[in-house]
């Protein structure tokens, strides 16, 4: 028997994700792509793109075969970021798309992200229908003379940049000197083009796209920013440092002083910027994201809508409000959506928005960050068997009955200026604990919660 690490294959409403070879096989890919070809109702081609992982070549061929067999024409953008795929779907009026890439995961993982018309991630209802078709495995293929055809399109990055140029004032942003850690992913493609075509001054590190060996984990966390990017910003005299995950949908930040900024601060900072501009007053985020978001929203008379963790819940929330009411959506991982590009988590658009903020306010990044009140967040995790979780959550809810409970996703309890959130990981057999307080870290609360969790383990 081949040994497969637990939870190294995830088939869910988010799509297909797994460790290639040991868990995710060619058969999964063919079946999922066949299900998608059958699921999409609208006519029109399907756009695909991938990140530079070596397994992407194999997956690309499988995806193309399945879609052609479903009678779909396929437009292949080659190696591009997920936002570029999303923009191309809209621009080409395609029926949908598949972005092949495992984002912030290590190189051995890969994934299929399914996108509907206009580049929108599938809603929960649509995703569960796709999943049903996948599980039923009764795919409908067209007759031999209606098999689709493949076209390559290499202008997608330029078309994407044209859209960004319509929103951001490139002529004033390109004066900034910016260092970028590309994590050997797709952002280098876009940033090099911004340099060549628009005269930006991005200094790139880890810019070579790699299939197997990434310089470090392509994750947009503070600790990864500290590794290579942050130490370079000050010596190079740059205004800021940015880091993108492999498919450039997330961003992390370092200040001009060389400080790695907490990934939690990207959303509140951009909320501050976008609520000021309006017209949208809503900030959509998840239950685990910093309370600074609520604080910033209050300054501008905005409102925070909190949803369960995960892209799916955010997408469902986005579709349930009129577009003009939404200021920004995002999570504490550095994944944010600009209001102009409503359904696209886009690290590069987020970076351009942050630079716009620096430009408009005439302040340094560290000065802007210093203007926010301090919140301290503590995060921990404990291994726990799934069957014990409901009892644990009930017990904690009773124990902390003086706070306001929220049970949308695990358990969150709020007090004025303090909260904790306990939720079950989607990817590992653990529960995560997030605990935040205005000012100093809520060490005592955090310790006692960890103790409670461990006593259940």
């Amino acid at each position: 028997m081949r040994r497969v690490a637990p939870r190294s294959l995830r088939i869910s409403q988010v799509g297909l994700r797994g460790v290639v070879g040991s868990a995710m096989t060619a058969a999964h890919i063919l079946d999922f792509a066949s299900a998608f070809g059958m699921f999409l109702e609208a006519d029109g081609p399907i756009v695909i793109g991938r990140d530079p992982r070596a397994s992407g070549v194999m997956i690309r061929h499988g995806v193309i075969a399945a879609l052609l067999a479903c009678g779909r024409d396929v437009i292949d953008l080659g190696i591009v970021s997920t936002p570029v795929v999303q923009h191309a779907i809209r621009g080409l009026e395609a029926a949908g798309g598949i972005s092949i890439g495992a984002s912030h995961n290590t190189a051995d993982w890969n994934a299929l992200k399914f996108l509907g018309p206009r580049g929108i991630y599938l809603s929960t209802a649509e995703a569960s229908e796709l999943l049903d078709i996948y599980h039923l495995k009764k795919f409908r293929f067209v007759e031999w003379n209606r098999v689709g055809t493949l076209r390559l399109w290499d202008e997608a990055v330029d078309a994407y940049l044209d859209e960004l140029a319509a929103v951001y004032d490139f002529s004033s942003l390109r004066r900034f000197k910016v260092v970028v850690d590309c994590c050997n992913g797709t952002s280098s493609l876009v940033l090099r083009r911004l340099n060549d075509r628009f005269g930006f001054r991005f200094i790139l590190i880890n810019e070579k796209m790699e299939g197997v060996w990434f310089a470090h984990e392509p994750s947009t966390t503070q600790s990864i920013v500290e590794l290579q990017l942050a130490p370079l910003v000050k010596p190079l005299g740059a205004d800021a440092g940015f880091l993108f995950d492999a498919d450039s949908d997330r961003v992390a930040v370092a200040t001009e002083n060389g400080c790695a900024v907490s990934e939690e601060l990207v959303l509140p900072m951009l909320a501050d910027h976008l609520l000021l501009h309006g017209p949208g007053k809503l900030v959509i985020t998840n239950l685990s994201t910093t309370g600074l978001v609520d604080e910033v929203a209050r300054w501008h008379g905005g409102k925070v809508v909190r949803v369960p963790v995960g892209r799916q819940a955010a997408m469902d929330a986005l579709t349930s409000y009129p577009p003009e009411e939404i200021a920004i959506a995002g999570e504490g991982t550095g994944a944010v959506m600009m209001p102009q590009f409503r359904f696209v988590y886009d690290g590069i658009a987020a970076m351009l928005a942050i630079l716009t903020m620096l430009d408009e306010r005439g302040k340094k990044l560290s000065e802007i960050l210093a203007s926010y009140p301090r919140f301290s967040i503590l995060k921990g995790q404990v291994p726990l068997a799934s069957q014990q979780i409901p009892a644990l959550l009930m017990k904690l809810q009773r124990l902390y009955s003086d706070g306001i409970p929220n049970v949308q996703d695990g358990l969150r309890i709020d007090w004025p200026d303090r909260w904790f959130h306990i939720r079950v990981s989607q990817t590992e057999p653990i529960v995560r604990l997030i605990c935040e307080q205005r000012g100093d870290p809520p060490q005592a609360l955090f310790d006692s919660l960890l103790e409670q969790l461990r006593s259940f383990a």
Binding site: L30, H61, G62, D108, F141
Partner: protein, 454 residues
């Protein structure tokens, strides 16, 4: 659906079926992954004919091979013999041709080759099918996944070089033959034009040589499907006409009068030419004309007979070191000096070379061959029917020599009959041969009569 096996067949000859509902990308991918697991990590050559479903299946096959950790060499649209020769010339681990050969356009299939560019032998094939059914494939991890390389130029160059080494090119060129060609818009279309007009200096009159267009006729090159080619020969007073199948392994030949030469006679011509030049034995299948024995006898050479199927013929050719072989009724000439596979380019070169050497019109060369008459037929196969039928036939002809290696063949000194189950369709195939039309009609009539008895 009365005969599910007709629409999809997964077995020792690979995987073959009607594209869409039956031959799916997932099946092709899984079979390719089994193949990649079987041949091991290393280079695997993949090419295809011009069928509409070809690119789709090539993506599926490429996915399966990469998933097994193989490096894929994409040679694009290529004749099957070109792919086989390229596998052996580049020392690849194996090769895959995506083609249903002479079958109609709605079919497609995978032809599988070992590291020498030969069809797998019987034992290899059954190992591979077991591996496929066990689904225990090699699953490459991210760092083990290799790249796809393309080579669209070298394969045809290597192929033609090998063919030309065995004929007198300047002699053929000096004749300025007028040649008609029907490429059925298949994989050989472009290469055949280049080969005949540029390489061999013929005046070429070609039809259906557009690989991007659908097949222009029933893909199997037979007298009843080559009417247009025959007209082309007559209209342009050509010396010869050539008809290919979609993957360029089969060849049909039309003489200067516009008559489609019987496939058995084309093979007999090739056997005669080769035995005159290089002494050695001959291997043909059981359904091929006994004219081959007569020719071999003239050269004091031996003929080996095998069950029907190119792989069977090649297997025995390899074992006995034969110099020429083939399958008469299937229009395949196998000349191992070029490569042990059916190859229409070798066939065209040998025919033109023989015409150039002798200075005789093709019809005259064919007239010199031992004359036999053949008749073919088929009846719907019903399970359990072949065994009793074989007993009935043996009992009806006690004086005949009997061979049961592929169905039943009954032989007399100057005539024979052969009844066998098709490998690809639910049919019993009947064939008979005798020295005169009357004799073959009578013999065939008796077989049909006996076949219809329960």
């Amino acid at each position: 659906m009365p005969h599910g096996g007709h629409f999809l067949k997964i077995g020792v000859s690979g995987i073959r079926g009607v594209v869409g509902e039956f031959l799916t990308p997932a099946l092709a991918c899984a079979f390719a992954q089994a193949f990649g697991t079987y041949v091991g990590e290393g280079r695997v050559v993949v090419g295809r004919d011009t069928r509409r479903s070809g690119p789709m299946l090539q993506h599926a096959v490429t996915c399966g091979l990469l998933a097994a950790g193989c490096e894929v060499v994409d040679v694009g649209v290529s004749p099957t013999p070109t792919i086989q020769i390229y596998v052996s010339a580049t020392r690849a681990r194996g090769g895959l041709a995506i083609t249903a050969s002479h079958n109609p356009a709605e079919y497609n299939a995978l032809k599988l080759f070992n590291h020498r560019g030969l069809f797998f032998n019987h034992y290899e094939r059954s190992e591979l099918v077991d591996l496929y059914h066990q689904s225990d494939f090699r699953q490459a991890l991210n760092e083990e996944i290799r790249l796809v390389k393309t080579d669209y130029e070298a394969p045809s160059r290597i192929h033609l070089e090998r063919v030309l080494a065995h004929v007198d090119v300047s002699r053929i060129k000096s004749r300025h033959f007028r040649v008609a060609l029907d490429g059925v818009n298949g994989a050989g279309s472009r290469l055949s034009c280049q080969f005949l007009s540029e390489t061999l200096g013929c005046e070429l009159h070609a039809i259906s040589v557009e690989p991007d267009l659908p097949f222009s006729r029933i893909p199997e090159p037979r007298p009843d499907t080559l009417g247009e080619l025959a007209d082309l020969v007559r209209r342009n007073h050509c010396h010869v006409g050539f008809g290919q199948d979609p993957d360029g392994d089969r060849l049909a030949v039309v003489d200067e009068t516009g008559r489609v030469i019987d496939n058995d006679d084309v093979l007999a011509l090739a056997v005669d030419v080769v035995l005159q030049r290089s002494p050695g034995d001959v291997v043909v299948n059981l359904t091929t004309s006994h004219a081959i024995e007569d020719i071999a006898m003239r050269h004091n050479r031996r003929v080996y007979r095998t069950p029907v199927g190119e792989a069977n013929v090649v297997e025995v050719m390899e074992a006995v070191g034969a110099v020429i072989g083939g399958e008469g009724s299937n229009g395949g000439i196998i000349f191992p000096a070029v490569h042990p596979c059916r190859d229409s380019y070798t066939g065209m070169a040998l025919v033109l070379d023989y015409m150039a050497e002798t200075g005789l019109p093709l019809s005259a060369l064919v007239a010199r061959l031992p004359r036999y008459y053949r008749k073919y037929g088929e009846v719907v196969y019903e399970h359990g029917r072949l065994g009793p039928l074989m007993r009935v036939l043996e009992a009806a002809f006690p004086q005949a020599v009997s061979d049961r290696s592929d169905g039943l063949k009954l032989m007399w000194p100057r005539q024979w009959v052969h009844v066998r189950a098709s490998n690809t369709e639910p049919l019993l195939r009947l064939a008979a041969e005798a020295p005169s039309r009357e004799e073959v009609e009578e013999l065939f009539g008796r077989i049909v009569q006996l076949t219809n008895l329960r």
